[in-house]
Symmetry: C2
Subunit: 290 residues, 2 copies
Amino acid sequence: MTTQNFRKIVIFGVGLIGGSFALAMRKAEAVGEVVGFGRTKGTLKKALEAGIVDRIGEDVALEVADADLVLLAVPVAQMAEIFANIAPHLGADTLVIDGGSTKSDVVAAARANLGDKIGQFVPAHPIAGAEASGPAAALADLYMGKRVVLTPLPENSNELLIRACAAWEACGMAVSRLTPEQHDEVFAAVSHLPHLLSFALVHDLVQRENHKLLLSFAASGFRDFTRIAASSPEMWRDICMANREPLLRELKLYADELYAMYQVLESGDADKLEEIFQLASDVRGDWSQQ
Amino acid sequence: MTTQNFRKIVIFGVGLIGGSFALAMRKAEAVGEVVGFGRTKGTLKKALEAGIVDRIGEDVALEVADADLVLLAVPVAQMAEIFANIAPHLGADTLVIDGGSTKSDVVAAARANLGDKIGQFVPAHPIAGAEASGPAAALADLYMGKRVVLTPLPENSNELLIRACAAWEACGMAVSRLTPEQHDEVFAAVSHLPHLLSFALVHDLVQRENHKLLLSFAASGFRDFTRIAASSPEMWRDICMANREPLLRELKLYADELYAMYQVLESGDADKLEEIFQLASDVRGDWSQQ
């Protein structure tokens, strides 16, 4: 872990995910040089000042040709273009990873654009986030003790998988494996749905004429429930669009659950209501003690 | 504030709400003696050991006759019985307050049971809570810097209102006023609805065969969204039942919001989706900076 495993890392997107990866790899002394690419000069300059990157990249072809590792840490909708840009220039031993929150779409974009380099890409989703974004939000410890889900491709060699695991483990993460489809089903349920529900509650209240009065009485329960409604709208638009089918299925199941609860409440069935709350409370309590 | 305003306080329910009130009044040196009543000897003993009460009450009639202040801090469904028990014995100058999370039902219970002593009751909802309950969860600072909503009755004298305000202010709270109906509408929207939605998400997931796998990948967004699903099932059953009509209206509005979001997602309207997220994110961000 403390040996310099990756001589040169190229990162596309130097915000929360990419920036924290760079800082974590530096802290683990697992990287030589970090080169950053991004959409805006301002963000790249901040990343340079924050010690996230050593250099701002100018020439993608040049930089990825001799990189040990390329990380795509941009919104998932922007990955196809980057795959297309790097494909002709990737070194034969360059490992490509990503930090996207959805996997089926990223794998499809990689297949469509990486050509015969597809085996060099090991898709990943580091399960760590915050409602903040940008280089200023990056933290060396963001990934420490958290899980990363790899969704390996049949074309990945064992040697490459081991290197991908080593990179995420150097950041302090425990590696899990799922298929891209399993991954997207799981995260539609435990992450994308709650985000959508949280955005929906705030949006629902904002429509009211008296929303300022309402919000003035909101307290800690509201605060925690809606924390994720302060997340990046652009990022969550992309995630929801990318994982549309599983998310629509989850929304449907949740709407059914709400309708059942509406009927229990409307009929005044206090025992049934308590039974629902009790089961949820028990499971949530057990979960938080794990 | 530091004078001993209340010589003797009698508290029904020595858990999070009642226990924290007692501890806060003691810290403010605003109380002489605190006497506690409760449903179980075990809870009362814990409250005694935790320094919440000075004595465990034996005789309700005797204790409330010379009390300066009586606090009802039990689930709202149990208040009617306590109002009935104390009504014949209340001293002429005894102020009665409550800490219930709903107000229309508490006021109705008070009117039905307090008889000509109704003017001595000043309904209140201290907006402070935690998912924990019981005397062990009580904190002297629970109310510090928080708001309490009073929903005064036409029968309350100004002198009594001032004493009720003084009690809550001694706990560190800022006093707001609403009618019982306004209160219940506001809290259906910003508190009761989010609790129900949070219980519903956990309950929805628990139904699945693979719920252990799902929960093993749940992260910080899920943790915050579902923190309130670990709340007391009994307390939330009572609150939902007591505030049923406003809560059903809120559930209906939220279901409409979700249906609109479902349609936006199904039609693949990324711009509209981002617009919804952006508005929610802006409002939530502004709110948390207040």
